[in-house]
């Protein structure tokens, strides 16, 4: 991020930026930066909190009026801990969906696959209702059915399944995994009585308590054994977060 600020400013465009990793910004020394204490993925602090987002934005924009630089300022916020910090989020979030997971034997791919299909079927109406209600989805390239069939085809088949997109297969796997995660999240928060989990609670549930988590971990393992370099890279880094590996 800081590199971009240097390049643009050198071309005559005034820049200001938000910084998430303070140490990087200290090293790169962009002209103007506001460090914020939020987790990666949340530079504006918290969803559906326009008041906080506005204060962060104004603090970053006001740096444009600093007389000289480089300037690196910390976002002052007395209420931050209750807002969004993943380290402080309540432990208690329980997903209202309780799936009957395949007991014990995680190597039985076919049982995992049917549990996965049941999950998707069960969540689908809630995803649709959520989409209708909010008029928006973050699912980008793969609806839940095509995403799940891509993974199932890969796990059960001997060859790479054909994807109906023009994307290289390793890219399709990565995008489909993110789309499935978005599908699960949007479906779960649309269920009656559901509250939105924090990112840690959601990750814990998605990766440790669902069939889709097991499926994606199995896909990761299979990718690691491939001769194709891009598939191995997907397996190493791009499918399962480091915190869940």
């Amino acid at each position: 991020m800081g590199g971009l600020a240097h390049y643009l400013e050198a071309e005559g465009i005034p820049t200001t930026q938000i910084s998430l990793i303070r140490e990087h910004t200290e090293f790169i020394r962009p002209p103007r930066a506001l460090w914020v204490p939020f987790e990666l993925g949340r530079p504006l602090g918290a969803p559906d909190n326009p008041e906080l987002q506005r204060r962060i934005l104004l603090s970053a924009l006001e740096l444009l009026e600093a007389p000289a630089g480089p300037v690196l300022v910390d976002f002052p916020d007395e209420k931050i801990e209750s807002v969004t910090d993943g380290l402080h989020e309540p432990e208690g979030w329980a997903c209202p969906v309780s799936f009957a997971l395949v007991p014990g034997d995680e190597t039985d791919i076919e049982k995992m696959v049917s549990a996965f299909r049941r999950e998707v079927t069960e969540l689908r109406p809630w995803y649709d209702i959520g989409l209708e209600r909010r008029g928006r989805t973050a699912v980008g390239n793969f609806d839940a059915i095509s995403a799940s069939e891509l993974f199932i085809g890969y796990l059960l088949g001997r060859t790479l399944p054909a994807s109906d997109t023009n994307l290289p297969f390793p890219v399709a796997l990565r995008l489909a995994s993110q789309d499935l995660k978005a599908f699960y999240f949007e479906a779960v928060i649309a269920r009656p009585g559901a509250t939105a989990p924090g990112s840690n609670a959601f990750n814990r549930w998605f990766w440790q308590e669902t069939a889709v988590g097991k499926i994606l971990k199995a896909v990761k393992e299979r990718c690691l054994g491939e001769s194709d370099k891009a598939l191995r890279l997907a397996g190493t880094l791009l499918l399962v977060p480091m915190s869940q590996a």
């Binding site: 991020m1 590199g3 971009l4 600020a5 240097h6 390049y7 643009l8 050198a10 071309e11 005559g12 465009i13 820049t15 930026q17 938000i18 998430l20 990793i21 303070r22 140490e23 090293f27 790169i28 020394r29 962009p30 002209p31 914020v36 939020f38 987790e39 990666l40 949340r42 504006l44 969803p47 326009p50 987002q53 506005r54 934005l57 104004l58 970053a60 924009l61 444009l64 000289a68 380290l87 008029g135 928006r136 989805t137 973050a138 980008g140 390239n141 890219v171 990565r174 995994s177 978005a182 999240f185 989990p197 924090g198 990112s199 959601f202 880094l237 791009l238 499918l239 915190s243 590996a245």
Partner: protein
């Protein structure tokens, strides 16, 4: 949270080891008061219009996001799976605060919101972004932007 010592392993070491570009000097361009600035968002979250080309790998190119885009038409194809996306799934402003910028412009706190915004995919080597960023400056000038708001992920 995102001071390095507050991240958990193995993500902490991974991020600590990322190569950062170093610069001997920092350019500094001044401009009018905030109330007369025209602001464009430059994100590194790998954002783009639904239907635009996904970010496929570690390239330094960017996508163009028109200023009249709706929340439902903005998607992420950043390569990393290690940052939170559930915030964005609830409210796009957490990564792309266009609604907030529009409010600030309506109130006269900033001059205006640019016609175009841009997104890179921040896991790419900054050196690969440099040529695209230098070309981008000309586009920003064409849009009369005098405040680039850079937002990481």
């Amino acid at each position: 949270m995102a001071r390095l010592d507050q991240l958990k392993e193995p993500q902490r070491s991974h991020i600590a080891k990322l190569a950062c570009p170093s610069f001997e000097t920092t350019a500094w361009v001044s401009g009018p008061p905030l109330g007369r600035r025209r602001v464009s968002i430059i994100s590194t979250a790998g954002l783009h219009r639904r239907g635009d080309r996904p970010f496929e790998g570690m390239t330094g190119d960017y996508r163009v996001i028109p200023g009249d885009i709706k929340a439902g038409d903005l998607v992420i194809t950043h390569v990393s799976t290690n940052f939170d996306r559930t915030g964005f799934q609830q409210d796009w402003n957490i990564m792309f605060p266009l609604d907030r910028l529009r409010e600030l412009a309506a109130e006269g706190i900033i001059g205006s919101v640019a016609d175009y915004h841009y997104s890179f995919m921040g896991a790419a080597d900054p050196a690969l972004m440099e040529p695209a960023a230098r070309n981008l400056a000309a586009l920003l000038k064409g849009d009369r932007v005098d405040a680039a708001l850079l937002i990481p992920v």
